[in-house]
Amino acid sequence: MRRPLLAVATCVTLLSSALAAHHATAVFDLGKRLTLTGTVTEWFWANPHCLLRFDVKNDNGETTHWVAETQAPPNMIPFGWAKQSFAVGDQVKVTLEPVKNGQPLGRILQVLLPDGKTLVAGAPAIPAGETRP
């Protein structure tokens, strides 16, 4: 089994390197994944990044206001995202890469929509007016 394991490990390493090459900068906790279920409060379809704001309730009934970014609209449209992708009140399941500092912020990797469809985040373009990854 040594060879298959080595091959898989190599693939993971190569892919991770490719990802990191575009996102080497500071704020994101690279490689960390969170999946959160919440209620959409705003879908800001704008430059330099679109922002999905959603509320997540914990077991104690406490609500956390999350803000998650994507790239700008021209970079999201090719992957099926649109201004109409979310409505206030939608129940969504968001997989994101959180920031390092513990704030409820992250970069969207994918979102499971109420109708069962999944939107996957697009290529790491640098949108209008923005140079941070």
Binding site: V8, A18, P78
Partner: protein, 296 residues
Amino acid sequence: MTRRAVVAAIAAIALVTVSPVIRGQQGFRRAPGAVYDVDFQGKKSGPAPRRDISGIWEFANGGAEGIQADGAKAMPSDGKPDHELPFTPEGRKAFMDHKPTFGITQVPSALTNDPMPGCDPQGFPRIVLHNAHTEQIIQTATQVVILYQFNKKWRAIWTDGRKLPSNPEVPEWDIKGSPPPEARFWGYSVGRWVDDYTFVADSNGFDDRSWLDNAGRPHSDALHVIETYHRVDADHLEKTITIDDPKYYTRPWVALDKLPYRLQSASFEIPEQECVPSETAKYNELFANPAANGKP
């Protein structure tokens, strides 16, 4: 099943699970309605038209080719010895004074002095060396005009035989007509056909506010940019950008090296992509600032 086999299986499942996300982020990006070389595998293009680079041009190998997050595509700021720029002492000082958010001298976004996040004009040549997208080229009797997607900018390259202003600080054209505008983000440009399939443009007249790329590479007011457009065949155009700035660099260097573009349908519509200060301010308030400093 042995323990190693179990580990290998788990790793394989993890890879399959995560790879679509990685592919989605890293991968090939298609602008709506655009065609790329991958769509024409095995098909040969027709011959290049003579002295014609007009049309709507998209990167031949996918829409993400022009992003150049880490700096000019042919010379990224990645610390590799081959990509070390030939700075003069003055140029190196200017480079170190810049605080980009990408490349080997990157800083957190809260500390950057990159003019672009505030929606200052990116100018030329940064418009083709960072966040570059679809271009439309229009040829008239006296100009080659290039329309850029990002911020809906455009440049006119004179082709009526005039020469660049010899002193961009007190600019004059060598032919009759209106005086050159007060440049500075976009410079003055003149071009010529060096053969039936190669168009070369020279530009000067820049001031030093803009950056060359997203990695904070600087230029001085002595910047001279050489653009070469080579019409390879009916469907392809290659663009090369050479930076010649004797104040900041000891020799010219190539920033784009024959980057291939593919001709799009005449009905292809270039998307709108604007830097909007009010949207940027909201983004900074809700995301960038709290992400950088930990305060909501």
